[in-house]
């Protein structure tokens, strides 16, 4: 049973397009969708409506939007990196922003990759293919007990 992918995305359109792009690339993992930062944290740390989940079972990769309701993406990233249970979870920032500041901040906080969502859907699909190839197939996850 492959690990899940956590997609943090508040825009339903983007969510649908992302899911489609991943599926088109034959990504078989379960995809959990969190619609804001707080929900993402609930899932990761097994709180709120995700209480009872084993927080040691980390996602294969977190696809994180920056502009999110309640808790924004940068804060989510910071919390992931500050908790020893999730410290080594790969986080890919997936955003519309082209601002250099966001890119710099993202990497500074420990993002593993930074992908700008292209408007052209064909390019989006291509980007998702690269994502899947790298983070789901090639990359070796750190051991759980780390």
């Amino acid at each position: 049973m492959p690990k899940v992918i956590l997609l943090v995305e508040d825009n339903p359109d983007d969510e649908a397009l992302t899911l489609r792009a991943l599926r088109k690339n034959k990504v078989a993992n379960d995809i959990i969708v969190a619609r804001d930062g707080a929900e993402a944290l609930d899932y990761l740390f097994a709180t709120g409506k995700h209480a009872g989940r084993n927080p040691r079972e980390t996602p294969q990769v977190v696809l994180l939007d920056i502009r999110l309701p309640k808790v924004d993406g940068m804060e989510v990233l910071r919390r992931i990196r500050h908790d020893e249970r999730t410290r080594y979870v790969p986080v890919v920032i997936l955003t519309s922003s082209k601002e250099e500041q966001d890119l710099v901040n993202g990497y500074k906080l420990g993002a593993n990759s930074y992908v700008r969502k292209p408007v052209d859907f064909d390019q989006f699909v291509e980007a998702a293919r690269h994502l899947g190839l790298y983070w789901l197939v090639l990359n070796e996850s750190p051991p759980h007990a780390a």
Binding site: N11, D14, A16, K117, V119, F124
Partner: protein, 635 residues
């Protein structure tokens, strides 16, 4: 907000050197010194003159007194001797004896012994008579107190010659070491018959001693008595300084000549020693004898010389004292001025907290207080200004932040719907292709193209806004190399196109490398783009000098433009060509203009439809860069 307050050490302007022209201190000192020297000098000179006159008068009085004193003494003495010889000559018994002897009534031996007794008697009663003799009518001595005198011939002697006429006192003579003088008087018988001459050798030592006494005449003063012997002046008494009895007239001090001529007066002249003397002269009152009382000028004015020395020292002291005190006074005056100048210099260099010291209640104090009020005023208005500037800056920063937030929002939020439009159009085409006819598919493609074009516009708009905000660097840039790079990129993007690109060598400028690259990329890209339909396309990059200003240009022979639309060229989203002909968002030239403007330059264009276009721009920083390349400045 940067504060101007003395961040760098206050530079003090070089103070004027101590030169008379540039220093009040020296001017005042010099002025006081001149005044002191002039007044004290005038006072001292007039005082000196007055004293000299006083001293001269005093000397004059003293000499005249001495002269007249000696004159009276000499006159009295001469008269006494005349009377004494007359007394001897008029002895009745002597006259009788002589008369008897000369008329042969008395033998010679008897006459001699008789008369000798009388003469010896007379000699005893007359002090100083060394010898008394009696001559006959011819001048032969017929009787005498001294045996040796008998028979001596006086016929040629002045004593006999003068004595015949009357009472005679001869010139003093130095005999051995003693001064002697002859006295003579006629001896007469009855009815004044001339019988002979009584001749007396007189010891005048005491008189000479008395006359030549220099009491009251100081170190160099003396009394001279003289008479004329033919053309010579004979000094009758020993001189004080040299044993000298005879001088020639022309050589002689004019004083004695004048005295001999019977004149009385006072003169400054040279004496027999050729020494400058002051002399009072007057006749003795006996024959042509003259008398001079004189004293060396040097001695006479010795008090004056001492006075001169004293005056010199006094004037020197006054000068030094005056200089020192006026220098001190001037320093006291100029010190506050210099302090004020220092304070002003400190204010000029940005230190508004300095205050000039107020040391007095006079005009300088008033000036210092006024200066301090001015500085306070300056400080308060400066503070107000600074507060306003920082308020404005804060406002500006707030606005800028808002703008950034806005751009961010645009970048993020406007793109999401576009992505949805594009994405779902694609999904429709993929999933529902059979339900769409050819028109439907075409429309869906148009939707997608529109969405993607909108995304491009948004990106360009964001780029433009970023250009406006980005910090500007100032570095030397090799424009030639930059243009070559861009040209290479363009050729690689469309390798099938044949465009001749000519780039001038050695183009250098100063500016922000990133922005200037963007500007040239836009301009060259335009030239590349608009020559797309031209055979023998040619693009030229170069410089030319216009109005003393270096101007860069990029010229093409492409589609060109209508000059009547030149004003719209550089507006954002303005396009003079259809997208179908030449793709683009219309933001490129607006970007170029922003970049050139931020470099303080100008950009403009000329063109003609289907002939081509030339874009010009200037970069004024290049001139200023010659010496200061590589500095980073805030735009």
């Amino acid at each position: 907000m940067e504060s101007i307050s003395a961040s760098e050490p206050a530079r003090r302007p070089p103070r004027a050197g101590l030169r008379l022209r540039s220093s009040i201190l020296l001017k005042q000192t010099a002025f006081v010194a001149v005044m002191v020297v002039l007044t004290s000098g005038t006072l001292i000179l007039s005082g000196h003159h007055f004293v000299r006159k006083m001293v001269a008068d005093q000397i004059n009085q003293r000499l005249i007194l001495a002269a007249s004193d000696r004159q009276v003494l000499l006159q009295t003495y001469i008269r006494q001797q005349q009377e004494r010889i007359a007394l001897v000559a008029s002895r009745t018994r002597l006259r009788q004896l002589t008369d008897e002897y000369e008329t042969g009534r008395m033998p010679r031996d008897e006459f001699r012994s008789e008369s000798r007794r009388i003469l010896v008697d007379a000699q005893k009663s007359s002090e100083g008579f060394l010898a008394i003799s009696l001559t006959d009518l011819t001048g032969l001595v017929i009787t005498s107190t001294e045996e040796g005198e008998l028979g001596k011939d006086y016929s040629a002697d002045p004593a006999f010659l003068e004595g015949r006429q009357g009472k005679f006192v001869g010139l003093p003579r130095l005999i051995g070491a003693n001064y002697r003088a002859w006295l003579a008087a006629p001896v007469t018988g009855n009815e004044q018959r001339f019988l002979g001459v009584a001749v007396v050798l007189l010891d005048i030592g005491p008189m000479v001693e008395f006359l030549t006494s220099t009491t009251g005449l100081g170190e160099s003063g003396e009394i001279l008595v003289g008479t004329r012997i033919s053309d010579k002046v004979r000094l009758l008494l020993p001189t004080r300084h040299r044993l000298l009895t005879e001088v020639t007239l022309d050589e002689e001090a004019s004083a004695m000549s004048e005295a001999i001529r019977g004149r009385t007066g006072f003169v400054q002249a040279r004496d027999y020693r050729k020494v400058e003397v002051l002399a009072a002269f007057r006749p003795v009152g006996y024959r042509d004898w003259g008398l001079v009382a004189k004293i060396d000028v040097r001695e006479a004015y010795a008090p004056l010389a001492r006075l001169n020395t004293f005056i010199l020292i006094l004037e020197g002291s006054i000068l030094v004292l005056g200089l020192v005190s006026s220098f001190a006074l001037a320093k006291k005056f100029t010190q506050p001025i210099l302090e004020l100048a220092d304070s002003a210099a400190a204010v000029a260099s940005g230190n508004l907290s300095v205050r000039a010291p107020v040391r007095s209640a006079d005009e300088l104090g008033t000036l210092a207080r006024a200066f301090n009020r001015m500085t306070e005023q300056l400080a308060s208005s400066y503070a107000t200004l600074e507060r306003r500037v920082s308020e404005r800056t804060a406002q500006l920063e707030a606005t800028s932040k808002e703008l950034e937030a806005f751009s961010y929002s645009v970048s993020h939020d406007l793109r999401a719907p576009l992505r949805a439009i594009d994405g779902f159009s694609q999904i429709v085409m993929e999933d529902h292709a059979p339900a769409l006819d050819q028109d439907g598919r075409e429309h869906m493609e148009r939707i997608r193209a529109a969405a993607q074009r909108m995304a491009l516009l948004i990106d360009d708009l964001l780029n433009l806004s970023r250009l406006t905000r980005a910090e500007l660097r100032r570095e030397p840039i090799d424009l030639t190399g930059l243009a070559h790079n861009i040209a290479t990129d363009l050729r690689q993007s469309e390798p099938e196109r044949k465009v001749e690109i000519v780039i001038a060598d050695g183009m250098r400028a100063v500016g922000d490398p990133h922005l200037l690259r963007a500007a040239i990329q836009n301009l060259l890209g335009n030239a590349w783009k608009f020559t797309g339909r031209r055979d023998g396309a040619r693009v030229e990059v170069g410089t030319l000098h216009q109005n003393g200003e270096r101007t860069y240009f990029i010229r093409d022979n492409g589609a060109g433009f209508d000059m009547s639309y030149a004003g719209k060229l550089f507006g954002a989203f303005q396009r003079l060509h259809g997208t179908a002909d030449f793709p683009g968002t219309g933001i490129g030239l607006a970007t170029v203009q922003r970049i050139i403007q931020r470099h303080s330059g100008r950009v403009w264009a000329t063109g003609e439809v289907d002939k081509g276009a030339t874009f010009y721009f200037t970069l004024p920083w290049e001139q200023a860069s010659e010496d200061g390349a590589g500095r980073n400045d805030r735009a």
